[in-house]
Structures are given as structure tokens and as C-alpha cells.
Amino acid sequence: MSFWRFFRDRLFAVCVFIITWAMLMIFLLALSCGISALIATSSLLLIGGTITLLWDFLRRRDFYNRINTSLESLDNKYLISEMIPDPDFADGEILRDIISEACRSMYESVAEQKRNTVEFREFIELWVHEIKLPVAGLLLMCHNGGEKAAEYVPQLMRIDDHIENVLFYARSENAEKDYIIKEVSLKKAFSAAAMKNINALQKRGVSIQAKGLDVKVLTDGKWLEYILGQFISNSIKYFTNEREPEINVRASVTSNRTELRFRDNGCGIPASDLPYIFEKTFTGENGRRGSRSTGMGLYIVRSLCNRLGHGISAESVPGEYTEMILSFGSNDHLKME
């Protein structure tokens, strides 16, 4: 709080003071007092007025500066009510009471929202586990039911994919720590992701080459499987009919990073779309043409990577290839929130 700002606020009081002083002078002159009496009265008034003004300014400046410093240091500004110093002036007390009341109400509704989110997520997790049971039952029935029943399998796999998306979306949006970081073999994770999509990959006749995956990285195995599964299902969606579909996965290790490059020879991503593919609900040109894109898959992938501390990026030459690059640090887990 600058003095000038404070002074402007008190301008009316200062004006009244000056007018009162002028009238007093006229009054004293009319009583034919000596010039020295005028000077003495004026000085006393000036000293008294200045002291009042300064004292008022200083205690307010202290109070507001302390609040401002606290406010700047807080991440959640609504917690400021706990940091307000005791004011020694009436309007400060009123302000403090108002802020406390407002913040308490704010805090309560934030806490309630958090509780609701956690409850909702728990419900989603539970629901996902429940809904997987009939899907598992149906898959078994299809397998036991002969040729006709086997035709239903791809549709069931689609249902399962959508269920997984819901589960991992809920996980990626929530601040709860529900992953385990341990050494995971890239080979095992990729194998699990490929096996999950084996029917779709074979139906499309995809050749897969995997090189150098005998590497261990620090991550959550299930999350990594989901991420790789997303890469695979995206590739399947965007292969072109112009050439034999191929997927090429390779890992390279440098001193402190492991990089996994997942490349397909599909239709590629236009340069104008490339910067936005990880944005929520972005579908881009390919998605509009294919009309099967929700724009959520890669968004969820990026959120999961952010939470695990992995790097994710994409390169593409339209009409030639798309390459997704995942990079694992040797100490990513130290950087996690």
C-alpha cells in the first residue's frame, strides 16, 4: 500500500481539515489575535493532523503488506483466512471476518467436490471391474460356441477397449496415487499390449518388428500396457490400403534415458494437426475422415505420462509414417508430484 494511494483515500478528510483550519484562522483574525498565536495554533493542528494520518497509514500498510506477502506465497489462495494477522483497526477486523467466512464456505465446497470426485472415481473403478465380468463371460461363451459365436468377439473387444478408456481416464484425472513404480520389461509390456490386440492386428495383416526391447524401465506396468495398447489401436485405425501395414518398435538406451520409438507406416498426421494430437477431444483431419475418433486416447496417454514423469512426443510425415516416442528417465519417479 503506497502512501499516495492512502492519501487519495483520505483526500476528503484532508480537505475538511484544511477548510476547518482556514475558517479557524479567519475566526482568530476576527478576534484580533496576534500573528504568533496564529502560527502556534496552525503548527499544533498540522502536527496533530500529520501524526493521525501517518499512524493510520502505517498500521494499515503493515497489515495489508503482510496479507499480500502471505497471499503470494500460497498455492491455494482460498486458504488466506488462516494467514491474516490480527488487525488493530475496526475495518480490518470486519475485513478479516468477511474473508474468514467466505474462505470457510469456499473450503467446504472444495472439500465436498474433492470427496465427490473421489467417490465417483471409486464408483467408476468398481463399475469397470463389475462390467468386465459379463464381458469375460461372453468372450468365453463365444469361444465355446463355435464359428458363428466367434463373429461376436471383435465387438466384445471394442466394448472392452471403451471400458479401459473409462478406467484410465478416471485414473489420469485423479490426483490419488494409485500406481506402483517398479522395473518393468519393455518386452513384457509390449507383448501384453500386442496380445490384447492380436485379433485386430491379424485381421489387418500387420507385420510387427520389435527390436531392442530387452530393457527394463521404471514405470507402472499396467499403465504402460495401456499406453502401448493405445498406440497399437491408433495404428490399426489409420493404416492405409496403399501398402502392407507394418509396426516397428525399437528401444534405445542412453546414459540416463531409455527411448521407445513406436512407428507405423499408416497415413501419417498432417503437420498442422501434429502439435494438437495430445489435446483433449482433438480429432484432426484423420479423425474426421475416419469418424471413429473420440480425441480422448492420446489425451489420456499424455496425462498418464505426465503423472508417471515420462516424456511423450510424436513425429510424422503424412503419407509415410507416424512415430510415437516415449522416453523414460532413470529417475523419473523422483520428479513425480
Partner: protein
């Protein structure tokens, strides 16, 4: 009490611990079709004595059970016996897998699973527990899976990794039809991600190699169904 299906001497007996009845019944059907004998437990209040008395060669254990948690049950089972256990669950999270493995599970599979993969895992775990057999035999020829060679009749042929996986899968169910999908799944499960054309090529090469060593018409093609190793 455990419910048994008819028993024969050579069949492996698999105990299914699963509370979802449709899944349990279909699973039993799947395993019986694949040549296993199945035992079912339907009382989950203190199931340990039933589990131990079932005389199973392998246990498929669900994690979400009424009355008892599958992981705890696994721990109880492990206190008494080393029967191989495969955990089957709909919970896709690393914690359950880490816990199950640390309690001594032999494998961990999440629902919904691909039935072909489940059968592969079961046979892999059974093979591991019965002691790994590197040498098998086929019509008087000796098959060394580790070295990848078949020898006999004074000759020896070398198989590539893919050919050996195919041969072994066929040999495991000798005399029965093995579908292309089953062969493909077995190859992929061993990180050999070949496509349909490559499978055809591999099978014809395997045929000509078997021909070289004196097995004519060893692999028979059943149209639209798969292959049979005679």
C-alpha cells in the same frame, strides 16, 4: 464339497475358484474341451480344506471372492502346498499383480482374457511345474526344444525358433486339430509377431524339413479348421 467331473488317469486336473457362475461354467467347458478335467468349489466360507483335498494339478483363482480375498486364500494355500496357481481377476492394477506374485502365484491374468491365451498360460505353467522337458519324442525321433533340433534315423535337422514353436504346439496336442489362431497365439506369446502369410511359409518349411528326416505327411491340413500332427 468340491464337485468333480469324470476323471481319467492322464488328464491334468484344474481347480476353478470363481464366484461368477456363468464365467465358472463357461471356463469349465473351455477347459474340458481342451482336454482338462475340472473341479469346482462353490462354498467360499473357509475353502482351504476343500482346495487341498481336491487333488488339483493347477488352480485358477479369482481375487474378488465372497467371504475371502483371493490373495489371502493364495497365502493360505501356499502355507500348505506348492500347487501352481494362476490368479484371474478383473482388476487391472499393478498392486494386485505384485501382491499376488509375491504371495507365490505362478501367473496373473486379467479378465476379460482371450481364452486361447489362457489355455497357453495354463499349459506353460503345467509344463514348468512338471519339470521342464527339453527333450520330447515324436515317432521315435528325439526332439530337443532348447537346441531346436530333431534327430533320428541317422539324420538331424535344425528348426528355426518359429518352426520349433509351431512343432511344439502341434506336438502338445498330437492327433488333435490345432487352429491357425492357436498357432499364431503361441508364436506371439513367444514374442514372434509374424503375420498370416509368414505362418503359411513357416508351416510349409517345417513340412519339408520333417520330410527330409523321413516323416512324410506328418502335418495334415484340415480345411477351415487348422492342422493336425499325425
Amino acid at each position: 464339497m468340491p464337485q468333480y467331473t469324470e476323471r481319467s488317469v492322464s488328464m491334468s486336473r484344474i481347480l476353478i475358484i470363481e464366484d461368477d457362475i456363468p464365467i465358472r461354467d463357461e471356463l469349465a467347458q473351455l477347459l474340458q474341451n481342451a482336454g482338462y478335467e475340472t473341479v469346482i468349489i462353490s462354498d467360499f466360507f473357509d475353502p482351504v480344506p476343500d482346495v487341498l483335498s481336491a487333488g488339483a494339478d493347477l488352480i485358477l483363482l479369482d481375487i474378488n471372492l465372497p467371504c475371502i480375498n483371493g490373495e489371502l486364500l493364495l497365502r493360505e494355500i501356499r502355507k500348505n502346498t506348492d500347487i501352481p496357481v494362476i490368479m484371474v481377476t478383473s482388476r487391472t492394477n499393478e498392486l494386485d499383480e505384485v501382491l499376488s506374485m509375491s504371495y507365490g502365484a505362478d501367473d496373473y491374468i486379467t479378465k476379460p482374457y482371450n481364452p486361447t491365451i489362457l489355455l497357453l498360460r495354463i499349459s506353460a505353467v503345467l509344463k514348468r511345474s512338471s519339470g521342464t522337458q527339453h527333450s520330447l519324442s515324436y515317432h521315435g525321433l528325439s526332439v530337443d526344444t532348447a537346441k531346436g533340433c530333431i534327430s533320428g534315423n541317422g539324420k538331424e535337422i535344425l528348426l528355426t525358433k518359429n518352426e520349433m514353436i509351431i512343432f511344439r504346439t502341434l506336438l502338445d496336442s498330437q492327433g488333435k486339430i490345432v487352429s491357425r489362431e492357436q498357432l499364431m497365439t503361441a508364436l506371439w506369446d513367444n514374442d514372434e509377431y509374424i503375420n498370416d502369410n509368414a505362418l503359411t511359409v513357416n508351416i510349409s518349411r517345417l513340412r519339408s524339413k520333417l520330410f527330409e528326416i523321413g516323416c512324410t505327411d506328418a502335418i495334415e491340413t484340415r480345411k477351415k479348421q487348422g492342422y493336425v500332427l499325425l
